[in-house]
Each structure stands twice: as C-alpha cells, then as structure tokens.
C-alpha cells in the first residue's frame, strides 16, 4: 500500500503532497493557491513562465520560505518545513542552478563535503575516492576522474555531480531547478540520462522545474503548469504534447497582453 509500484498511481501515498499553498510578499501574491502531488518514483515536470511562482514554490519546499497557508505532506505525514536543514532531514534536497559545488576542491571532496570519511585526525581520501567513483559509476555519471578539480568540468558534469551528491546524501525527493538551463544538447542529454537512471532505480521522486520544457518532456511522467501562482494544468506526459503545452503558454501570454491593454 505504501509502496506503489506504478508511479502514476495517485491513489498510493504520494512522496510529496502540497495542498492550497499560498504565499505573499507584501503586496505581491507569489502563490495564490497551489496544489500538487508527487508519486513515489515519479518524475514531475513543473513548467511555467518567469514570475509564475516556480522559484517561490521551490523555496517553500526546500525550507527557505514558510507558506502563509496550506498543507505539505511528506510520505503521508503533514510537516512544517522549518529550515533548509529540516527539509534535508525530511529527504527533500534541491539542486540549484548556481551549484553548491566548491570549484577549488576535487570531485570526491565535493561529493563528501561535510560528510567526509575520517580516520581521525586525517581524511580518508582513498576511501572517499573509491566510494565516489563507485557511486558515480552506479549512476552512470561519466567524468574524467574523481580527482579532477570541479572547476575543470563542464556544466553538465558539474550538474550531474551535484545531483549524484544529493542522491548519495539520502535525498528521496529531488528538486532540480532549471537543470538544463544554459546547457548544450549533449550536456543536457547527460542530465536527462541521469534522471532516467534514477527513475529506473525508483528510489527517488523528482520534480524538474523548467522554463524551457521541450527537452524536459522526454523524461517526465507528468506535467504541471504553474500560472499566476496556481497550477492550471495537470496531465500525464503521454496524454499531452509539446504543441498543447506551447499553445497553453502562448495563449496565456496573449491573454495577459490583451487583458492588460483593455482593462
């Protein structure tokens, strides 16, 4: 009952459920009424234009902001996410675009940052190197060497390492913020492959936040569209198309323009 094999089955206990979340910043209503659910092992694409409230929603889920109202449930239990650390302890981890990797450190030191393997008083570099290599191989992340300085890697590789680090730190709900932004097709494919691999393993549930959704569509089970602070569209990827999504977004764009002009 708790572990639903079919990720699209919304009747099983969802990994994450958000109900009627609202958030205002002064006079600005960033989120008016957002409800969404994320099944276990599911990959949800959350798309929307700039200013639709995507980043506010992420910041609420990752513990930066508290919602004004609404309910958040993780694995069937209602929670109040108090801080970033608290979110992480609930298994929610966000991989941001401006990655939290340290350029000056090697891949394996980044993988183990603040969770280093230590044989007091020294670092067990050999162990960390081996475990990092093993974990990255398991996830199919290809990098020249775990000894490489992160600064030397490409954007895609860096992103992949950041994702791998989150998974390694027992994150069960991954929020990927614009994982493909400013990335070439080849680089993007690297990330999409990683997401597919994670999906196949079925241990993590993923929300991909995307502005440009064409590529994202390939890996998502379901798509939600966020417009003006509410979810206006929720369909399985199989039941929708790039065309439909594009039309929706364009229609909204037109509506706001004419609406703004007439009233």
């Amino acid at each position: 009952m708790t572990d639903t094999p079919d990720p699209q089955d919304a009747t099983g206990t969802p990994a994450l459920q958000v109900e009627h979340i609202a958030k205002r910043f002064g006079a600005v209503a960033a989120l008016t009424d957002v409800s969404l659910h994320l099944g276990k092992g599911e990959v949800l694409g959350l798309i929307g234009d700039n200013g639709a409230g995507k980043s506010t929603l992420i910041k609420i889920l990752s513990g930066f902001h508290r919602p004004d109202s609404g309910r958040i449930t993780v694995n069937g239990e209602e929670v109040t996410i108090k801080s970033v650390d608290h979110a992480r302890s609930l298994g929610i981890d966000t991989v941001y675009q401006d990655l939290a990797l340290i350029d000056e450190l090697t891949v394996y030191h980044n993988m183990f940052l603040n969770r280093e393997v230590v044989r007091w008083p020294l670092l067990s570099n050999r162990t960390m190197r081996r475990l990092a290599r093993q974990h990255l191989d398991e996830l199919g992340v290809r990098i020249p060497s775990v000894d490489a300085e992160v600064a030397k890697l490409s954007g895609g590789q860096r992103q992949a390492i950041a994702v791998a680090r989150s998974v390694y730190s027992d994150a069960r709900i991954l929020l990927l913020d614009e994982p493909l932004a400013a990335m070439g097709a080849k680089e993007g494919a690297l990330i999409l492959d990683l997401v597919r691999d994670l999906k196949a393993r079925g241990e993590v549930s993923i929300i991909i936040i995307a502005h440009n959704y064409a590529q994202v569509l390939e890996v998502c089970d379901r798509i939600n569209l966020l417009q003006h602070g509410r979810i206006t569209f929720d369909k399985a990827t199989a039941d929708t198309s790039l065309q439909e999504l594009t039309d929706l977004v364009v229609a909204e764009y037109r509506a706001t323009r004419t609406g703004g002009a007439s009233s």
């Binding site: 970033v84 650390d85 992480r88 401006d98 990655l99 939290a100 990797l101 340290i102 350029d103 000056e104 450190l105 090697t106 030191h109 940052l113 603040n114 280093e116 230590v118 008083p121 020294l122 670092l123 570099n125 060497s145 000894d147 490489a148 300085e149 600064a151 030397k152």
Partner: protein, 345 residues
C-alpha cells in the same frame, strides 16, 4: 610532500596531456613543475642562494644561516596564520600588533602578578587567541569586513601596548631566562618552532576536515553553508589560530633579541607575513593557498634582506624588490591559475 589538495590533480594530469609532443618531454615536465605553486618560489629561493653564495662566500656560513633562519622564522609563523585566513577568505591586519603585545603580556604576568613563567607564556598565547576570537566575532557575527575590522583592532591593540608599556622597552623577566633557549634564544630554536608549525598546519590544511572546510568556505561561501558547513565557526577558528601564532612568534622574537620592544613586530611584520603568503601562491580571493609556499615566501624575503646586507647594498631597495616580488608573483598566480583552469592547453 608539498602538494595541496588543489594542486595534486594538475600534476597527475599533466603528463597525460595530449598534443604536447611537439614541445617534447621537457615542456611537459616544465609545465607540470610550474603548475606546482611552491615549485616556482622554490626555484627563486634556490636561485638566490646560488647568487648570494657566489657573490659572498659567507652567505652559507653557519652564522649567516642562523641569521637568515632568524629573520625568516617569526614571519613564516605569522604567514602560516595568514594563509589559513586568506584561504578562508579573510585577512588579519592586526596580527603584527598581537606579535608586539604578547611578550609584554608575558612580562606583566610574570613581573607584576608573579605568574609562573611557562604559565605566563601560555596565558599570552591564549590572549592572542582571544584577540583572534574578538576579531572573528566582529567579522562573522557583526559582519564587518575583516580588512576594516582588523584595521581597527590593529590600532586598538597597538594602543594597549603603548599605553601599558609607556612606549618603553622592557627586559625579559629574570624568572623566564631559563626558558629562553627553548623559546627562540638558541641558534636554531626559532627555526625548529617554525618548521614544526609549518609541517603541522600543512597537514591541517591539506589532510583534515578543518582544512577542507577552510578551502570550501573561502572558495564558495554560499556552497559551503549549503552543504551544512558552519562557515562562521571555521573563520573564527582561523582567526584564533592566527592570534595564537602571532603571540607565539612575538614571544620567540622577544627571547631571541633579549628585549621586549614596543617597536618590534607591528604592521611591518604583518605585511611581510602577508607578502610571504602571497608570494608563496596564496590567493587573496580565498579558496587556495599553501602553507609551505608561505614558508618559502618568507625564506625568499629573508634571503633578499640578508644578501643585500652582505653585498653591501643598502637596505633601502629592499622594499623595491619586495614590491616587485609581490606584483610579479600575483601576475604569475593569475596566469598560472588560468593555465590550470584551462586544464590542458
């Protein structure tokens, strides 16, 4: 032995670099060598030895080597602290004033309060660490940039030294004389302290969690705190290490010169220490630096000062050379860093 976390990989990668055959093995070796930051400064240090020995054969005599070691050691000890701070993205301008104050504190404790000498030395070191704690508190908790915060404490501490000593030098307390040879008086005493400290903090910076977090905090403060590292604690800790080391260096220097002088140390010592760190390859922007590089930086400066004396050039052009050395090493740092970032150009 002298590899840092960040330089280790470059040297591993260099021999595999493609397209180098045109230039031959020499080029590869040269590049790999140049990419080790300490290597460049080591070449300079050795070159100076050869040059000065060639000009004046007393340069490598026992007595002169003692001279050089003594004009290097206290600054190298200060530089170790500055390296840790610079790597974590901060700087301590007040370290030289802690250097000046600490032997006075020892003197007050022994002569005015009858504290047992070895305890008085320990107290002075703790006082130095406490000043570091205060500096760190102002920087981390009150969010004053370290450059400004420690500029303030620089004058404040100098004020304390001058007021309490009435700007007069003091004698080493008679009770402490028995400790003198351990704490800097004997020929190689300062050097041994210095090398032990350098070795210890080299390991700390390259092989411990503290060092790794220090690099992380300086390299990407936001990322480090995202990973759950308590960045403030790392910075304050490094300020405290700096303060403790500065206090020790001041005490060693007082014992060696057999006087407690309100004019020793000060901003001059601090700037030499920062110069040594920078010449040794520590980036002012944070995130990278090496303790051994700082030792070599201090060695080069000591050699220059000593060699100029021997040759009979006045001490005046020393700052000229120091200035050029800093600028050149910074230019090298910037360009070697680009070379390193590019990987295998």
């Amino acid at each position: 032995m002298s590899d840092t976390i960040s330089s280790k990989t470059e040297t591993d990668d260099a021999p595999r670099a493609p397209g180098r055959r045109v230039h031959g093995v020499l080029q590869v070796t040269f590049d790999g060598f140049m990419r080790r930051r300490e290597a460049t400064i080591l070449v300079v240090a050795l070159g100076l030895v050869v040059y000065f020995q060639y000009s004046k054969s007393v340069f490598l005599s026992h007595d002169n080597l003692v001279n050089i070691s003594q004009s290097m050691a206290p600054y190298a000890i200060l530089a170790v602290g500055e390296v840790l701070l610079l790597v974590s993205g901060e700087i301590d301008l007040s370290a030289g004033m802690v250097f000046t104050l600490s032997p006075f504190l020892m003197h007050y404790a022994i002569d005015f309060y009858g504290v047992y000498p070895i305890l008085a030395i320990a107290l002075s070191l703790f006082a130095g660490a406490f000043i570091g704690l205060c500096n760190g508190f102002v920087v981390v908790v009150l969010r004053v940039p370290s450059f400004v915060a420690t500029l303030g404490s620089l004058f404040l501490i100098q004020g304390i030294t001058l007021t309490t000593s009435h700007a007069y030098p003091a004698e080493i307390p008679a009770a402490a004389e028995s400790l003198a040879s351990w704490f800097g008086r004997a020929d190689w005493s300062e050097l041994i302290w210095c090398l032990a400290i350098v070795a210890f903090f080299h390991v700390v910076l390259t092989r411990t969690r503290w060092g790794l977090h220090t690099i992380a905090v300086g390299g990407n403060p936001h990322g480090a705190s995202e990973a759950g590292i308590r960045t403030g604690r790392i910075k304050i800790g490094n300020f405290m290490i700096m303060g403790g080391l500065a206090a020790l260096a001041g005490i060693l220097e007082a014992f060696r010169t057999q006087t407690i002088d309100p004019n020793s140390g000060g901003t001059g010592a601090m700037f030499i220490a920062v110069s040594a760190a920078v010449i040794g390859g520590t980036a002012l922007a944070g995130g990278s630096g090496t303790v051994i590089g700082a030792l070599l930086g201090a060695l080069v400066l000591a050699e220059l000062q000593n060699g100029f004396n021997l040759i009979g050039i006045s001490a005046n052009p020393f700052n000229l050379i120091l200035g050029m050395a800093i600028i050149i090493s910074m230019i090298l740092n910037v360009h070697l860093a680009r070379l390193r970032r590019a990987g295998r150009t």
